[in-house]
């Protein structure tokens, strides 16, 4: 445990040193405050609309931003150590490959969790203090749920980045594959699902289709943050399938947790087999 914390502590202090943490937190806070006050500008209003609308807008933005930030934070975790010439040295220390990987995850995960907590937390506090008639209790619960799910989404993409990082031998390749992961889950996956829906004209197994949403952590994240608040009739695109899912929010939370546990375990297994 001591070795894991030593590795994590270095990652965390690197995030402070290169101002990653503060930059991410600032981006989150700015976006959250901007969306809270100007999110309804398209419909001719300026000012705080409602907590569900704000959370839904934040989540819509989050699915683009969070995976990208997590992948950028973590894609060079192992391949970067190897290219920098420090991996070989680290592996001669009383440190197992699992300890190194989990230490990295602990550090990167904590960086993202802190940035999310500070960024969105500050925005939540600003809303609670500055907006009149806002139900503070409901806002706090919604924000907490949003912050936790955002952190879990980030962790799942950190773990996916590790799968790439332990597998490839050059940083540019890792960066390219990380972007491909982002492209697939954020942009392509829903289009594919939509394509299946339209092409099959309802003949595709209707019971199976909603489950396919669980194959994409960004869809789980959106379901958690939008479905909980909105009338399911308002859900658009593939997310409307979510209302047919026979699992409740707890099932969705579990699915999101599995989305970082399984890739992280996979990365560990791949790393153990890697020749150094």
């Amino acid at each position: 445990m001591n070795s894991i914390w030593t590795i994590a502590r270095k990652e965390l202090s690197d995030s402070f040193r290169n101002r990653w943490l503060i930059a991410i937190a600032l981006v989150f806070a700015t976006l959250a405050v901007g969306i809270a006050w100007f999110g309804a500008a398209a419909s001719g209003q300026v000012g705080y609309a409602s907590t569900p609308a704000t959370i839904a807008s934040l989540a819509s933005l989050g699915i683009f931003l969070i995976p990208l930030i997590a992948l950028l934070l973590a894609y060079d975790a192992i391949v970067g150590e190897e290219e920098g010439g420090t991996l070989l040295l680290l592996m001669t220390y009383p440190l197992s490959r699992g300890q190194l990987l989990f230490g990295k995850f602990f550090g990167h995960g904590l960086t993202l969790a802190l940035a999310t907590l500070i960024g969105f937390g500050v925005a939540g506090i600003a809303i609670a203090l500055l907006v009149e008639d806002v139900a503070v209790g409901a806002l706090a619960i919604a924000m907490l749920r949003f912050i936790i799910s955002t952190t879990l989404l980030g962790w799942s993409f950190i773990a996916l980045a590790y799968v790439v990082s332990v597998r490839v031998s050059e940083k540019p390749i890792a960066a390219g594959l990380a972007l491909a992961i982002w492209f697939f889950f954020v942009l392509i996956f829903d289009l594919m699902l939509l394509g299946v829906l339209v092409a099959s004209q309802g003949e595709f197994n209707a019971e199976l289709l909603p489950w396919l949403l669980l194959l994409n952590p960004t869809d789980i994240y959106r379901l958690l943050n939008i479905v909980t608040f909105s009338d399911s009739a308002q859900l658009s695109g593939v997310l409307s399938l979510g209302s047919d899912l026979p699992i409740g929010p707890s099932g969705l939370w579990l699915a999101l947790v599995l989305w970082f546990v399984i890739p992280l375990t996979g990365a560990w297994a791949l790393f153990r087999g890697r020749r150094i």
Binding site: G85, T92, S96
Partner: protein, 310 residues
């Protein structure tokens, strides 16, 4: 208990036999020079001892335990060739990071940095370090936690002659305290006075291992006597020719001196005859150097073996 022991160790990567039945050991309080060209199996041997890879055949024992076992790694110091560190951290931060990983006392950090001459630079970022300073930081890193087995790969690269001499003095002190040291170096002549034993690898096989006297006996290479004549070279030649050991001796003249190659077994007889003749004003005795032995054991194809000693 030996520092490490390789027993009939082979390592296969894909279809290539990188290491072939190597037997080698290092005892506490001993400095072993490990030499071989690129691809000879030197790095593979080091990685097997460090537990980074498992042998395809044979047994690797390190400090009485299994290679790679954290309980063993704790007592190993390793300086890789071209050591690299996190450029954005300072020397002190890097050493503290590695000290924590090794469970070493953090008070050792400034002490070791001072020992390798980095007192003034310990709070500067490593990206501002010269190659020699990085090498010294690497050495401080290897010394963390008082290792019982120290493995140094090209430790003198980037070091000036004074720092090199300091390093060798330090290694002798550590050896006298019971640490086993493995030294891999390109610079064979510079290493010779500081090693207790040498091991020469080529194409995955151990060609020779032992102290220099044993290697010289095994190689049976001639010793060269460099003779300054009292009267004339011709008179000296006559003495050498009449000596009983003269059969097959190589002689050549150079700058008014006579150089005679003599086999070890016949060396003393010839020297006595020369001294008794009164024809010798001065005599130099040159035994085969480590470099000569290296070339002898790896054969004449040294350059063909991808660039000489490593």
């Amino acid at each position: 208990m030996s520092c490490f022991r390789l027993e009939n160790v082979s390592y296969r990567y894909d279809k290539a036999l990188v290491l072939n039945g190597v037997d080698l050991r290092l005892d506490p309080g001993e400095i072993l020079g490990l030499f071989g060209h690129n691809g000879a199996g030197k790095t593979t041997s080091i990685k097997l001892i460090l537990g980074l890879m498992a042998p395809s055949q044979g047994k690797v024992t390190v400090l009485g335990g299994e290679a790679g076992d954290p309980k063993v790694s704790q007592y190993i110091g390793y300086l890789p060739e071209n050591v690299m560190f996190y450029p954005q951290l300072t020397g002190r931060e890097i050493l503290a990071h590695f000290a924590r990983l090794k469970g070493a006392d953090l008070r050792q950090v400034p002490e070791l940095l001072g020992q390798v001459g980095l007192d003034d630079a310990m709070d500067a970022r490593v990206k501002t370090y010269s190659k020699g300073m990085r090498q010294r930081l690497g050495l401080a890193q290897a010394l963390l936690g008082k290792p019982r087995l120290l493995m140094l790969d090209e430790p003198t690269v980037g070091l000036d002659p004074i720092a090199t001499a300091d390093l060798y003095r330090l290694l002798r002190t550590l050896r006298d305290d019971g640490t086993g040291v493995v030294l891999c170096s390109h610079v064979l002549p510079g290493v010779e006075p500081y090693i207790d034993r040498a091991a020469i690898l080529t194409e995955g096989s151990l060609k020779a291992a032992g102290d220099l006297a044993a290697l010289r006996r095994q190689a049976n290479m001639p010793t060269t006597l460099s003779l300054e004549p009292e009267n004339s070279v011709a008179a000296l030649e006559a003495v050498v020719n009449s000596a009983k050991a003269s059969a097959g001796l190589m002689m050549r003249q150079d700058n008014g001196r006579l150089h005679v190659d003599v086999r070890s077994a016949e060396k003393m007889g010839l020297m006595k005859a020369l001294m008794a003749s009164g024809e010798v004003r001065d005599m130099g005795v040159y035994q085969p150097t480590l470099e000569d032995l290296y070339v002898h054991f790896i054969g004449s194809g040294g350059l063909a073996h991808r660039g000489g000693a490593q």
